[in-house]
Amino acid sequence: MSAVDVYLADLRAAIPGPSWTRRDLLREAGDHLEDATAAYTAAGYTTAEAEALALRDFGSVDDIAPGFRDTVAIDAARRTAILLVLVMIPQAFLWDGGIDLGASAHSVAPDSGLFHVLDIVIAYVGTAGTVGAVIALAVTAIGQRWLPVGRRTARLTATWSLATAMVVPIIGFTMLVLTGGLTVILALCALAFMAAPFALVALSAQRTLAAC
């Protein structure tokens, strides 16, 4: 195992989180070190000397890893925000619009104080979740022109997404149960259109947190 291989393995170990961005970054780092080693070898150094010089120029793992970690975490946060937006947008259509799952369970909303409270809460939580995801999406992309975006932003995005992904389905299922008209078909619809998509958001948020 060459010194460059050892270095790249150490760098990989120092960057937790989703593998796709990390893989790209490490590939670029590997290409760079290969080029730098070749340049030093062409200048007359032995392979071992050339690798040592290339690694010295590149920077120690302690110096380089924080920047790579920020990049991986921000990319993961951006993906989570995109996913949350994509999952949230059809929810209004599913519940209040064309499909109207709530009315399918019961044509008239139950005369329950809890149901009405949850109806208001889910509207606010849904709106806040969507707006937060759109802001996070903007900040982790074009927002980097003006704002210092790092792991703190990624952590905030992931926490926000995770909370939304847990609260909305719990309230949604509770409301369906409160209608008193929950059938197997409706339960399966809720699983397919609500629980499964939000589970993906939660998984993505957890991966983002792991990268922070």
């Binding site: 290409d31 120029d57 380089i64 790579f68 990049t71 921000i74 990319d75 982790t140 927002g143 980097q144």
Partner: protein, 106 residues
Amino acid sequence: MKADALRGHLDSLILAVVEKQPLHGYAIIEALSARSGGELDLPTGTIYPALRRLEKAGYLDSSWSEVGGRKRRTYELSSAGRNALAAHRQEWRTFAKVVSGVLGEA
């Protein structure tokens, strides 16, 4: 010149070296070193997070292309990056003129 002194300027320096043609990471480092007369002293590994940040900010476009028989991610200036570079150049000229006007009086 140390990395601390470059803070806030690295992004513009990167945009400047890819202004004329798309370059991959190592070539960008080489161009930075050549155009600074070897005075830039920063760990070369720090360039990759900066490149990714500039790409996500819309200042650079990247694509994988074959360079020297190997697949490399190459970066080129986007139109937004070109505008940002022009704006930074103007700011820098004004800043340099002001500072030179004061420091040059010794």
